[in-house]
Symmetry: C2
Subunit: 195 residues, 2 copies
DNA sequence: TAAAATAAAACGAGCGTTCATTTTAAAAAA
DNA sequence: TTTTTTAAAATGAACGCTCGTTTTATTTTA
């Protein structure tokens, strides 16, 4: 049972921590920082979470879930393979623009710091989903026959790289505009060539 | 003037810190850890470095220099454009296999933590060098005419991704073996198509 | 009134850094 | 050569502070 108050408090903590963990790193954000920044007392924080690590766990679970849902929905609605790929790229770029902190948290925060036994982020649910998608396309002959790892790297590598350049403020403009040209490059490298 | 002793001490500190910063993160490695791990007393550490931050600075300078030198040499010796690209990929993979800690330090450690005013890692010397290389190839018509950012992402994205998968131990085998197939995919996405 | 929620104070451990001191080794003086 | 002097190198205890967490006390809610 989680009360309304509990949900409000957790949401405040979520929003502050996502931002701060991404900016300063987990180890450099103290419980006192969180208390002040989220406007929740230390006592309340420990009332809702049993430890600082658990806050990290909570953030990790929430963020991977949000991303997975968005990606999955886009793929499901796509009318064909190229559109499915486009939706993956676009949705990741879209999230990077709309919720940069969330994306930074996933891509930059060393989550081994608070989740010692968790798999690396590239084995988290959203990335696993994308990997399965790629595997299916290779098996069904849509993508060239290649090592799944190579295909995965050729597709996700450039996407993640663009997102990182945006997070680092190297790219000043909306990266959703890059969707088309990046897709074109990726398509060339992995789709079967037209006979 | 840096004495032999100083160089030995700094080397010990370098080797321990590269490993530990990559594994645990800068904030989670204390001076006491460094002292114990490197076999240099706390006092001696502060004799050679004015602060913990300066150790980070030292590591950052050394690692970017090592990587830049290796990449530059490979490109200089390459007989043609494709070989130059191959050398960049191979050398990065080679370093990842031979000195994984060094690569982890560059790719994973949040260096803003100890170098608040440094540019993001993708603007560090080795990456700038590669970016210039790509720009030249676009300008001279070797690569397709595209946004430098896109080209950069299409080339370096997959390479970095493979390295990260290796660092995370998702890839169990020597990634140098992927050089050829990755190069093929990348070539397809950025080289001008044959008429 | 009992349970849930909040707040603040207190705890021990560990942090980066300093510093008075000792050791080491080479240069100067005898 | 032997002794004295000097400065670099190295030491680790101690300082002030912040950490994550717990306890204790009070207020709000049901």
């Amino acid at each position: 049972m989680s009360s309304i108050k509990e949900n409000i408090a957790k949401k405040k903590i979520f929003e502050f921590c996502i931002k701060e963990f991404a900016r300063a790193g987990y180890a450099n954000v103290s419980i006192r920082n969180i208390s002040k920044g989220a406007g929740i007392s230390i006592g309340a924080i420990y009332y809702y979470f049993s430890s600082k690590e658990q806050i990290g766990q909570f953030l990790y679970d929430k963020t991977t879930e949000i991303i997975l849902n968005k990606i999955r929905l886009g793929v499901q609605k796509a009318p064909n393979d190229k559109e499915a790929l486009r939706s993956i790229i676009y949705n990741l770029f879209d999230m990077s623009e709309k919720e940069p902190h969330l994306m930074e948290f996933i891509l930059y925060v060393k989550h081994k710091e608070f989740l010692p036994d968790a798999p690396p982020i590239c084995s988290s649910k959203p990335f696993e989903f994308i990997k399965n998608f790629i595997k299916k396309k290779i098996d069904s002959g849509v993508f060239r026959d290649m090592d799944i790892v190579i295909a995965s790297a050729l597709i996700m590598g450039p996407v993640i790289r663009i997102i990182q350049l945006r997070m680092d403020n190297i790219l000043k403009n909306d990266i959703r505009l890059y969707t088309e040209s990046l897709l074109n490059g990726i398509v060339k490298s992995i789709f079967k060539e037209r006979a």
